[in-house]
Symmetry: C2
Subunit: 188 residues, 2 copies
């Protein structure tokens, strides 16, 4: 099992990477199976062998994003410093990680699914709802936690659409502000 004769690496991963990159480069509406197959280094038939339809491919992108986020969050929870609003701190850090460095494109499944078939966002809808519930249940300062969460969502959304006007330093400063908000709250 887990054999991969032709590909050097798991084909599914290569395909998902290719799709995510292409969304960044040419826009979610121009994502075609042919383009993904070429970028991933296999044929269209091979692509459809791994993902039997375009919807399945988009679902795979969404699922990987969710799995990756979940893994990262639990990893962060292990080494989390004690302090207030833990869940919100984990949540913001995860969202920021998902759109940083070599992960920069992993969230592009959102754009692709949203443009092609909004129903594919159902799992994401569920996660968002769950996240909100967690924050409500566990965070000492819900107002600050929500603001922090929404702010990193806003930041990553700007970055996804390539609309961010922020330099690396700007981004760092914003992240620092988010953390300060989560530790100190809004002034009285």
């Amino acid at each position: 099992m887990f054999k991969c004769i032709r590909g050097r690496k798991n084909s599914r991963e290569r395909i998902l990477d290719a799709a995510a990159e292409l969304v960044s480069e040419i826009g979610s509406g121009r994502l075609t199976l042919d383009a993904v197959a070429e970028r991933a280094g296999l044929s269209k038939g091979g692509l459809l062998y791994n993902f039997p339809s375009k919807d399945a491919l988009l679902q795979g992108m969404i699922q990987r994003m969710i799995d990756e986020a979940s893994t990262q969050k639990e990893a962060l929870r292990e080494k989390a410093e004690p302090g207030p609003n833990l869940e919100a701190r984990l949540c913001t850090a995860t969202v920021l990680n998902l759109h940083c460095g070599n992960m920069r494109e992993i969230a592009n499944g959102l754009l692709a699914a949203s443009s092609e078939n909004p129903r594919l966002l159902e799992p994401v809808r569920h996660i968002v709802k769950e996240t909100f519930g967690n924050l409500k249940d566990t965070c000492e300062d819900l107002d600050a936690s929500l603001l922090a969460w929404l702010a990193v969502e806003g930041l990553t959304n700007l970055e996804m659409h390539d609309l961010s006007p922020f330099s690396e330093e700007d981004r760092a400063r914003i992240v620092a502000s988010v953390n300060r908000l989560l530790h100190k709250g809004i002034a009285a």
Copy 2:
């Protein structure tokens, strides 16, 4: 000039409304000229008479959003209460208005343009950059201003993708938190 014989209302407006609604309902990737024409209550020829290409239509959606935002912002500036971080307060209020009530779909041009042809977002990119510049130049508390701005961006983005888990009360509470943040800042 500005005559509109057949339509009860400006055709261009009806077309833009129809397109924005359709993006909400069927997803930006499934936005077709035929569907827009049907929804707007005119023929495809009539649609292409008003917007000679799909790109032109998307550009029109973006432009209306920008114009609407600019108008609203200046209207808000007239009756703005004195206080800190004026520009950020105008900015957040405008973004929130653009995604509220009968305006709910006006920002959908972003999704449509992003999926079809990301280059059409250039004017938005410019506005975002300018907004950031304004905040930097005029806001007493830049950190709080940026967080507030990004938070409402995050909120409206969730709403655009129909991912928001927030009730009306939740939303009101978040908006109140944003305003508190802009008036009081982050705790020391």
